[in-house]
């Protein structure tokens, strides 16, 4: 399907009327097309109304049966979702290769934009941003830096870079959807039994890199959620993604 075809496939998509390969292709497109995502949400809500209109009386015994069944069915853990499942690989990249690709990442998109914006801000903020950028660069270029790549919800991709000697972690995301007013992405350290706030992340759309606030301090991974502006003391929504730190 070409891109015009893809855009007109929203109807067929919510009706589950595409062939599996087309559906997969459309979902990839969906991750990058906000207008389509909005339309899909609205059209899905529309089809639900069609469904409500054919509601049928349910035999009484069905409730008993279903309630009995669920009592023996394990629920999927709250942090795993079909599309947000993290496919994580971990390895120590050869230092040169790592340095090269990180240097590319840092100099090309994320940091350049960041530094550009910082320069437009007040001088103190610029200095702060520079310091953060320096810290970020320091983690990215650390001799013991290890990388883990995962898939976030909606086709976005996340990269975690960890330096154990510095006890710091950096997060790079590409393709996160824009959030509406009053919402923000928040990062978290996963301490096993609890999520510890690790700063906000305003990087929808293009590739953005950010240093997680605070030390790793034994955290086994990180998560990213959508929170009300200003962030929350603990996650209030399902994670957009969860990633394990490289060992």
């Amino acid at each position: 399907m070409n891109s015009a075809d893809l855009h007109t496939a929203t109807g067929a998509y919510v009706l589950h009327a595409l062939a599996p390969a087309e559906e997969a292709e459309f979902e990839r497109h969906l991750a990058a097309c906000e207008a389509c995502a909005q339309e899909v949400e609205e059209l899905a809500a529309t089809t639900a109304r069609l469904g409500l209109a054919v509601a049928a009386p349910v035999p009484d015994r069905m409730k008993e049966q279903v309630l009995q069944r669920i009592a023996t069915v394990r629920q999927e853990p709250p942090r795993v979702s079909a599309r947000g499942r993290v496919r994580s690989w971990t390895r120590s990249l050869p230092k040169l290769a790592l340095a090269a690709c990180l240097a590319a990442a840092v100099t090309s998109g994320a940091l350049a934009v960041w530094q550009h914006r910082a320069a437009e801000d007040a001088r103190s903020q610029a200095r702060q941003a520079e310091q953060q950028a320096a810290d970020l660069a320091s983690v990215l270029a650390a001799p013991d830096a290890k990388v883990s790549v995962g898939e976030l919800a909606d086709g976005a991709r996340g990269t975690v870079v960890v330096s154990r000697t510095q006890d710091r972690a950096a997060f790079i995301a590409a393709g996160l959807p824009e959030l509406g007013d009053g919402k923000v992405y928040q990062l978290w350290f996963n301490d096993g039994d609890a999520m510890r706030p690790a700063g906000l992340f305003s990087g929808a759309g293009a590739e953005r890199a950010v240093l997680l606030d605070g030390r790793i301090d034994g955290a086994t991974g990180m998560g990213i959620t959508v929170e009300p502006a200003g962030g929350s003391p603990e996650p209030t929504t399902e994670p957009v993604g969860l990633m394990d730190f490289p060992a």
Partner: protein
């Protein structure tokens, strides 16, 4: 994302925000909340599955599977992506359609022959869509579509056909069907005042 407590939080079945809250509680393993969700969604789920599958025994089996899946995967529900009812109904349609297609895959040739002989089911479906306010509204809005839009949408949704099958049945080009499915749903959306 916690919705505020409502004084008028009515006895079951919950709707709208209350249903979303109940589903969120289900994600935490709350079986009582699941019973509330069941009361709200079981009739539309069974009705939709039956509309696609027809066979009553098979429909009940698939509807039960859908309801168990609601329990199992409640943690995937994302309130910011749409209502709880939409989430459940999308799941139900998906499962019903999957069942149709898995049966189809095994008897592809017979199926194609049968499909071509069948008369479209939309008359029957729109018959079912009568009485009660919501049903009347949906029926009125379906009636406001062009014939092609209505046929395409009802065959895909209520019968679970792919757009290729719809094209074959209505002897229309694939692109036309795809477009009719989209603009038909858009017109329905506007007629029903759906805001997602």
């Amino acid at each position: 994302m916690r919705a505020t407590e409502r004084a008028d939080a009515s006895p079951p079945p919950p709707r709208g925000k209350d249903l979303a809250e109940a589903l969120t509680a289900v994600a935490r393993g709350d079986q009582e909340a699941f019973a509330e969700v069941y009361d709200a969604v079981s009739a539309p789920v069974l009705g939709l599955v039956r509309s696609v599958l027809r066979d009553p025994a098979q429909s009940e089996e698939v509807a039960q599977e859908v309801l168990v899946e609601v329990w199992r995967t409640a943690a995937r529900f994302r309130p910011e992506k749409g209502s709880a009812m939409t989430w459940v109904m999308t799941l139900a349609h998906r499962r019903a359609v999957d069942r149709v297609r898995s049966v189809q895959a095994s008897t592809e040739r017979e199926h194609k022959a049968a499909l071509l002989e069948q008369t479209p089911a939309y008359d029957e479906v729109t018959e079912q869509v009568e009485s009660r306010l919501e049903q009347q509204r949906v029926r009125r809005c379906l009636g406001a579509l062009t014939t092609l839009q209505r046929e395409a949408v009802t065959l895909a949704y209520y019968r679970g056909l792919t757009y290729r099958e719809v094209a074959q049945l209505l002897t229309l080009p694939l692109g036309t069907v795809k477009t009719r499915l989209r603009d038909g749903l858009i017109r329905l959306r506007d007629c029903l005042g759906v805001t997602a």
